[in-house]
């Protein structure tokens, strides 16, 4: 089976300061890879390099074996295949929930509006928000907004979904409703790359854990192994920091 996403020797700098150093990774169809690591280790930047939101200094990112070039002519097409959900939801404040979801399929993909609306409504039903379709983002709670943001990514039928700390801005009681949606997506076999600080969730959802520290992949392995018996001292220290 060919990998959906391949990252080779990715090197990223900000003003001469190395953020990511020789990162290599493959993600196979249906696989859920969870990236963990201390704040500022480069995990979010890594996700942003994958869909060209950040330029990379060296190395390459391949989607279905084709190089992603942030300044190339195909970047817009490639991005449609990579769904992304952000920490701060980033819904369009002046559009209704339905408009938020149908903007890209209709305007970017050129799909039929009625068809897009039908799919949006059924996806909203799935995350329990179909009654909110005509409201504006400000009328929704954080957890609801984030579920809408997930629907907004799903309607594009992406080959891979990127989740960038999607519960980091949420109140604790709203974290679960969002994570349950992500978990249900994992169960139906979606390919996902997830950055999170929720260790229990990471363990439950991941096929593979990737631990990044200082811009490098330090350790990689199955979740049960990583969380019970990490191989590296740095991973051990990181996991210890979650216990009181």
């Amino acid at each position: 089976m060919d990998p959906i996403l391949t990252v080779e020797h990715l090197h990223k700098e900000f003003d001469g300061y190395t953020v990511l150093d020789d990162v290599n990774m493959t993600v196979n169809p249906g696989e859920v890879v969870v990236i963990v690591g201390p704040s500022g280790c480069g995990k979010s930047t890594f996700l942003r390099c994958l869909n060209g939101l950040e330029k990379i200094e060296d190395g390459k990112v391949l989607l279905d074996g084709k190089i992603i070039n942030p300044t190339g002519v195909d970047i817009a097409k490639d991005r449609q295949k990579i769904g992304m959900v952000f920490q701060s939801y980033d819904l369009f404040p002046h559009k209704t929930i339905l408009q938020n979801i149908t903007l890209a399929p209709v305007k970017v993909q050129g799909r039929n509006k009625d068809e897009a609306v039908r799919e949006a409504v059924s996806l909203l039903e799935r995350v329990g928000l179909s009654n909110k379709k005509d409201q504006y983002p400000r009328q929704l709670s954080g957890g609801q907004k984030q579920r809408v943001a997930i629907v907004r990514a799903l309607i594009m039928h992406p080959e891979i979904l990127l989740f960038d700390e999607v519960t980091a801005a949420l109140d604790p009681e709203m974290v679960r409703e969002v994570l349950e949606v992500v978990l249900s997506l994992a169960k139906e076999g979606r390919t996902m790359l997830i950055v999170t600080h929720e260790m229990a969730f990471a363990r439950a959802v991941a096929d593979r854990i990737v631990f990044i520290d200082g811009g490098r992949i330090v350790e990689e392995g199955r979740p049960d192994e990583f969380f019970t018996d990490p191989r590296t001292e740095r991973a051990r220290r990181f996991l210890d920091s979650f216990e009181y």
């Binding site: 939101l53 097409k77 952000f86 980033d90 369009f92 002046h94 890209a104 504006y136 400000r138």
Partner: protein, 220 residues
């Protein structure tokens, strides 16, 4: 209080003032809106940063905006005459008003667009939206409240400037105030024109703010 002739003149003044203000605002936006979009898009951190284009437009806007309107009015007389055929009257006044308003509007538009949350733009970009789609469907839509507020302020400024053009025969209420109130010492006529300007200003301002808050979905 006033005879028929004066009342007719005042009504004509109102008509000319509204004509100058609204037409110059519309034409100012025809130039200023795209200019503001280009400023926002080419600034560093914009959708398509371009230092050279940004600096040229930036300096161009600053130069025009730093010339006092009254001076601009006089400087542009040859240009106005070439364009309209005469340098006095309300239609002629529209020329310097548009020249003055366009860079002002460009700045208003630029700063309105700058306020759009970068995360929202990034989200649109991540969905594969082109720069044009982001400008039309995201930037201008999400900035609409600020844009309407800016348009209201601009129209108010143009109302004031159109009155100022009365000093050089610009027509409208300002012209009446200068000719009757200042040169002929008819204070009552001057006061009436001032009152009319205040009323028009209030109507523009209230209307603009009402529209702006009506279309604002960010808070309530």
């Amino acid at each position: 209080m006033f005879d028929q002739k004066i009342i007719e003149m005042l009504l004509e003044g109102i008509r000319d003032t509204l004509y100058m203000t609204l037409v110059s605002a519309l034409m100012g936006y025809a130039v200023g809106l795209p200019l503001g979009v280009v400023l926002n898009v080419t600034r560093s951190g914009g959708l398509k940063p371009n230092r050279i284009i940004y600096r040229i437009l930036d300096i161009f806007c600053n130069i025009i905006r730093s010339i006092p309107f009254l001076i601009l009015l006089i400087l542009l007389i040859p240009f106005t005459r070439a364009l309209v055929g005469q340098s006095y009257g309300s239609t002629a006044t529209i020329v310097p008003l548009v020249v003055c308003a366009a860079p002002y509007i460009a700045r208003m538009v630029e700063s309105a667009l700058n306020e759009v949350d970068a995360g929202v733009i990034e989200a649109a970009r991540a969905m594969g939206a082109s720069n044009m789609q982001i400008i039309l469907k995201v930037l201008l839509v999400e900035a609409k409240t600020s844009l309407v507020t800016g348009a209201t302020i601009t129209t108010g400024v143009l109302l004031g400037y159109s009155a100022m053009s009365g000093t050089v025969g610009g027509g409208g209420l300002g012209d009446i105030a200068v000719r009757y109130g200042y040169y002929r010492w008819k204070t009552d006529i001057m006061l009436v024109t001032v009152a009319l300007l205040i009323i028009i200003f209030q109507i523009i301002q209230n209307l603009g703010m009402k529209v702006a808050s009506g279309i604002d979905h960010r808070k309530k």
